[in-house]
């Protein structure tokens, strides 16, 4: 067999490989997701009047990420340089990991509260659940006789975008028969319902 023919066949194989590589890389890039977020099953309860209720837990102290408050010895994490009181006054900023009812971490949250803000005192939560979206919650300032504080959803993103609803915040000091590393717990019980769309 002439050497030219053999080289030509080899070259054709090489060119075929290039085309295969181009197509294969394209198919792989297109079909394999670059980001695949971990999802936990949503533990919801269907409400009698429609909508879903879901309980988010924060076990203290293990779920604390940040405690920012002027003049406290309990700032967290160690080494945190919290801005002075001339700017933020009595602002209390906290950040947590949040868990579902099975105590599995499913997101992170921030809580901002300021009782002496000149435009009016406030308590707010932002819950960021990576695979689902973000929920912006505003709480009432006064707690109920049982120590609960209720609030409402101001806005939601992605899975929560079309929902409206309420939230109840409660602080539990005596956790029974639970993880020994947790001493106290914050529970956020949300009740969200979808808005009725316009009928065509």
């Amino acid at each position: 067999m002439p050497i030219f023919y053999r080289v030509s066949r080899l070259f054709k194989t090489f060119i075929s490989g290039i085309l295969l590589g181009l197509v294969g890389a394209g198919v792989l890039t297109y079909s394999v997701p670059a980001v695949d977020l971990h999802r936990e099953p949503s533990l919801m309860t269907v409400q009698a009047n429609g909508g879903n209720s879901e309980t988010f837990r924060i076990d203290l102290p293990r779920d604390r990420i940040l405690v920012g408050l002027v003049g406290t010895d309990n700032a967290l994490p160690a080494g945190l340089e919290w801005p002075g009181d001339e700017l933020f006054g009595n602002l209390q900023a906290e950040m947590f990991k949040i868990r579902d009812r099975n105590d599995v971490v499913i997101g992170v949250a921030s809580r901002l509260a300021n009782a002496s803000e000149e435009t009016g005192p406030f308590i707010e939560w932002v819950l960021h659940l990576p695979a689902r979206g973000t929920v912006y919650l505003q709480m009432n300032l006064t707690a109920s006789a049982e120590g609960h504080r209720s609030g409402r959803m101001i806005a939601g993103t992605r899975d929560f975008e079309t929902l409206t609803g309420t939230v109840r915040e409660r602080f539990i000091t005596d956790i029974e028969n639970e993880d020994v590393s947790a001493g106290e717990r914050i529970e956020l019980i949300t009740t969200f319902i979808g808005q009725l769309g316009d009928e065509e």
Partner: protein, 230 residues
């Protein structure tokens, strides 16, 4: 045998060509003009440092090249939040004075499509501006220009670093014009819905330590009703 080797080498070359084509894609749009620039409405501009060591707090899964700050902050290692980053920053006005606090949650987006030059991140800002109020900014950001023009050149550089001038509009949605969605919480922002855009300006980046000289800006449109309450 030589045909198999030839085929394999060809496939590797093909894959490399594809990667090069994706990286040097001339049709990639690098936004440097804010979609809000055409609007004539009053806006609020704040800037923040994007250097983790200069923030109040920065944390991620603890495995990235970027160091968390402060040193003893908890890592976000749990599977559901392993692709999430949190930055707590001082927000400053154009004169460099601190005017507020911003908490930014960022998570890699499953809508990321590298073939379309989209390295997407879902992010949410929880913002407090003393004397003004609170708000939430929800956005989808595209970090492809940042990766292409800063991170990859820094990794290729013999000095493991990048120096230059980068300015990019990071916000890509969810607004139709590529703007972020703003929801007012309290104070003069109560009940407000508006739009915003975030941009990033970079001068130096280290492949070992992450951003060295970098700051971000948020431009938030203030509806007339909000201005009238001032």
């Amino acid at each position: 045998m030589k045909y198999v080797v030839s085929l394999l080498i060809g496939m590797l070359v093909g894959a490399a060509l594809f990667a090069a084509g994706m990286y040097y894609n001339p049709f990639t749009r690098h936004g440097s003009v804010s979609p809000l620039a055409v609007l004539n409405e009053k806006h609020l501009d704040v800037t923040y440092t994007a250097v983790p060591g200069d923030t109040i707090l920065y944390t991620d899964n603890g495995e990235s090249t970027v160091n968390t700050h402060p040193d003893r902050v908890v890592d976000l290692w749990e599977p559901a939040i392993v692709d999430t980053r949190i930055a707590v920053v001082l927000l400053k006005n154009s004169r460099g004075n601190a005017v507020g606090l911003g908490i930014k949650f960022s998570t890699d987006s499953e809508q990321t499509a590298l073939i379309n030059s989209q390295a997407l991140v879902n992010s949410a800002w929880h913002i407090y501006l003393p004397g003004q109020g609170t708000l939430l900014v929800d956005q989808v950001e595209n970090y492809w220009p940042y990766l292409r023009e800063i991170v990859v050149p820094a990794r290729w550089s013999s000095g493991d670093s990048w120096k230059g001038s980068f300015f990019g509009i990071m916000t890509q949605g969810p607004g139709a014009l590529g703007t972020a969605r703003v929801s007012g919480g309290t104070g003069k922002f109560a009940g407000m819905t508006s739009e915003a855009v975030e941009s990033l300006t970079a001068r130096a980046y280290s492949a070992i330590d992450g951003p060295v000289s970098m700051h971000g800006s948020l431009t938030i449109i203030l509806p007339k009703a909000t201005i009238e309450t001032e």
